[in-house]
């Protein structure tokens, strides 16, 4: 001990720190059981935080995927008139679609049209929302047509029935199918007011029933092809909505600017009639403000929960170190009386805490990553406890939630833990410094 003291007092600064680190490390293992318990409490806390972060991230990604791949795409273009009050006539001419397809790279686009209508079976009538899609383009933008519970997702003209009347094919939302008691093969009569004021009417045959997409659409939505829509609605001037998939999602904001500029150019070349308003380009964050709010909220959640868990674990650390200092009061007294400077003593206790924290951080992030990796592959299945199409604030959850591990989350969680435990370690260190050798030795 006195040799070591000599080395500390006489040696250079780096050498001194190395030595203090070494002593700190040795001190940890003077009471291995207590130290191991402390380490496992800290590491356990870290595992929890990492797992929580990974599951939250997994849910967030799933939510974004739901919002973009399943329905909205990354970007949408409408005219202001359609955004304001779903004005049927606020269409963008087809040349906008052609120009975007030929002049913007790295995107896929799908045009859509909407209309309110009355759908009837022999038994019942329901108000429905028709969404007309392009069966060729839509699958390149969203996975809507693959999200099928029963039947085959075909659109367009169907074979005429035995009565010789023409029939078209329709895909029906999950809840609507249940409410109306229809299944693939059922007949649906659709009546609406067409764009020319006539009574738009057509016979449809249900070709498929969708899985839950979003609550509004599940309850009221039917999918038909744009060809069918044009025959039903006598509206051929263009489309109301253009869903855009960006091949590299990190370039969404850039492409939004590009698309906006292109729309402005096309508008300048040939102005549209006033009523429908200008074309407006919006990203999914603007289209689904609830999703993007939820994402921001979940970041805050993560920080709060992380701080609480790590804070609790670091209380264990505080206790351990207070005990360690207390036990060694006498020893510290001797050290101080033979010339150890109080700040070196402080550093020694501090290093002891730091090493504890580092060991815990290493083992915790390793275990946490392993656990998160497991749930990334296997997912947690809630399908027994969640009703189908369960939604929160209009966002449908998939019943199987799988984790997504982000390395940065592990790093931040470890740093947070080390920082919080070091803060806690200041108290015992401070007590070590305040010791008065004369009083202790008496």
């Amino acid at each position: 001990m006195s040799k070591a003291l000599e080395a500390i007092t006489a040696g250079s600064a780096p050498g001194r720190i190395t030595l203090l680190l070494y002593i700190g490390w040795r001190n940890i293992w003077r009471n291995p059981v207590r130290s191991l318990l402390t380490i496992s409490a800290l590491a356990g806390g870290l595992v929890m935080v990492i797992l929580y972060a990974a599951l939250l991230e997994g849910m967030n990604r799933q939510m974004v995927r739901h919002a973009t791949e399943l329905g909205s795409g990354h970007i949408q273009i409408h005219r202001q008139g359609y955004i304001d009050d779903q004005d049927l006539y606020a269409t963008l001419p087809w040349r906008y679609l052609r120009r975007i397809e030929s002049e913007v790279s790295g995107v896929h686009v799908a045009p859509r049209l909407y209309a309110a209508a009355l759908a009837s079976t022999r038994e019942a009538s329901y108000g429905v929302l028709i969404r007309a899609i392009d069966p060729q383009r839509e699958p390149l933008v969203t996975t809507m047509l693959r999200h099928i519970r029963s039947g085959t997702p075909e659109l367009g003209m169907a074979a005429p029935g035995s009565d010789g009347l023409p029939r078209e094919r329709v895909i029906v939302g999950a809840q609507l199918a249940r409410n109306m008691g229809i299944a693939p093969g059922s007949e649906l009569i659709v009546v609406t007011q067409a764009a020319d004021g006539s009574i738009g009417n057509a016979l449809y045959r249900v070709s498929a029933v969708l899985k839950p997409l979003e609550p509004g659409f599940d309850r009221m939505g039917v999918l038909i092809s744009i060809d069918s829509y044009q025959r039903l609605m006598a509206l051929e001037s263009g489309f109301q909505e253009l869903a855009v998939k960006v091949n590299d999602p990190s370039r969404v904001d850039l492409l939004r600017q590009q698309l906006s500029a292109l729309c402005d150019r096309v508008l300048d070349e040939m102005p549209l009639e006033q009523d429908g308003g200008r074309p407006v380009v919006r990203t999914w964050r603007e289209l689904n403000p609830s999703v993007s709010d939820l994402l921001e909220l979940s970041g805050t959640f993560l920080l709060i929960v992380g701080a609480i868990v790590v804070g609790l674990a670091s209380l264990g650390m505080l206790n351990t170190m207070l005990m360690a200092v207390h036990e060694r009061t006498h020893e510290f007294g001797i050290l101080l009386s033979i010339g150890m400077k109080p700040r070196w003593l402080l550093l020694m206790v501090f290093f002891e805490s730091l090493l504890l924290a580092l060991v815990a951080a290493l083992s915790g992030s390793l275990l946490g990553s392993l656990a998160a990796g497991y749930f990334e592959r296997h997912g947690i299945d809630f399908s027994r406890t969640l009703p189908e199409g369960y939604d929160w604030a209009g966002i449908v959850f998939e019943p199987v939630i799988s984790a997504t591990l982000r390395p940065m989350d592990v790093l931040y969680a470890s740093l947070l833990m080390v920082a919080v435990t070091l803060l806690a370690a200041l108290i015992p260190s401070w007590r070590a410094v305040r010791l008065k050798p004369a009083e202790i030795m008496r």
Binding site: L118, S120, G127, V191, G197, S198, N201, L203
Partner: protein, 262 residues
């Protein structure tokens, strides 16, 4: 062949109401006598029931987005039954609307199906015009749902008129907050009706003109609906011919006949 003693073209409420009123006024009361509202309403009621009509007319609808005109044939019996069939344009030939009491069915020949208009669609446009399905149905309950009174009697803008104001009864489930009808004293033909919402704002105006003598009374053959908020839009109904007292029975206003009449 017909008695020509009443005018009830059934299709559209305002028109109906106007004509109803006219019919009532014209029948047993001497035109220049002071009008008693109770008598008026009682006459409307009595004259309406069991009454039948048959008319051919055209309707021209002008909106910001489309203009369409069509010709129609219509039958009615009392205030509860009516049937309208579109004759032109070819694309819509045979599309028919049957009204029985408060129910409306549309027959759609293209898909050979009859579809009942559910209550949620009653406020929707009828045949793309500015009239609603509700307009077809509501008129039958109008007398029950509104309190009417003569609020002006005298000369206005150079002609002698009655101003009839109808206010909904307190518990009536009605669309309008107030309806004001202007009637020419000399002919007892209505020439303007104004419809107000519950806040007292004018919503639409219907003008009646081109009076023609049918039997003993003057019938306005043209009505022009003008929505207040859309001055460039309108719906005009023009009667080519109208006859009263034609032989019809309840069986005529059936779902079977709805299909067969195309």
């Amino acid at each position: 062949m017909d008695e020509r003693n009443g005018l009830h073209h059934p299709v559209i409420k305002p028109c109906l109401r106007a004509l109803m009123l006219l019919a009532a006024c014209l029948a047993p009361v001497t035109p220049l006598q002071a009008m008693d509202v109770a008598t008026l309403i009682r006459h409307i009621d009595r004259l309406w029931r069991g009454e039948t009509s048959h008319a051919r007319m055209s309707m021209t609808v002008k909106t910001r987005h489309y203009e369409r005109s069509m010709t129609m044939e219509a039958w009615s019996m009392g205030k509860a039954y009516s049937l309208v069939v579109i004759r032109e344009p070819i694309k819509e030939r045979g599309v028919a609307t049957l009204k029985v009491e408060a129910n409306i069915w549309n027959y759609l020949p293209k898909i050979n199906r009859v579809v009942r208009v559910p209550s949620s669609m009653m406020s929707g446009s009828w045949m793309g015009s500015h009239f609603t399905n509700d307009d077809l149905v509501r008129e039958s309950t109008f007398e029950d749902d509104y309190d009417s009174s003569i609020t002006y009697e005298g000369v206005r803008d150079g002609r002698r008129i009655y101003e009839l104001t109808a206010l909904p009864k307190p518990d009536a489930a009605v669309v309008w907050g107030k309806v004001v009808m202007l009637i020419e004293q000399e002919t007892l033909a209505p020439f303007r009706a104004r419809y107000y919402d519950e806040e007292g704002r004018l919503v639409r105006t219907i003008d009646f003109d081109r009076q023609q003598r049918v039997g003993e009374r003057m019938v306005p053959m043209r009505m022009t609906l003008q929505p207040e908020e859309k001055p460039d839009e309108s719906t005009v109904i023009l009667y080519q011919e109208i006859a009263f007292g034609v032989p019809l029975d309840k069986g005529f206003f059936s779902l079977q006949n709805l299909k067969a009449r195309r």
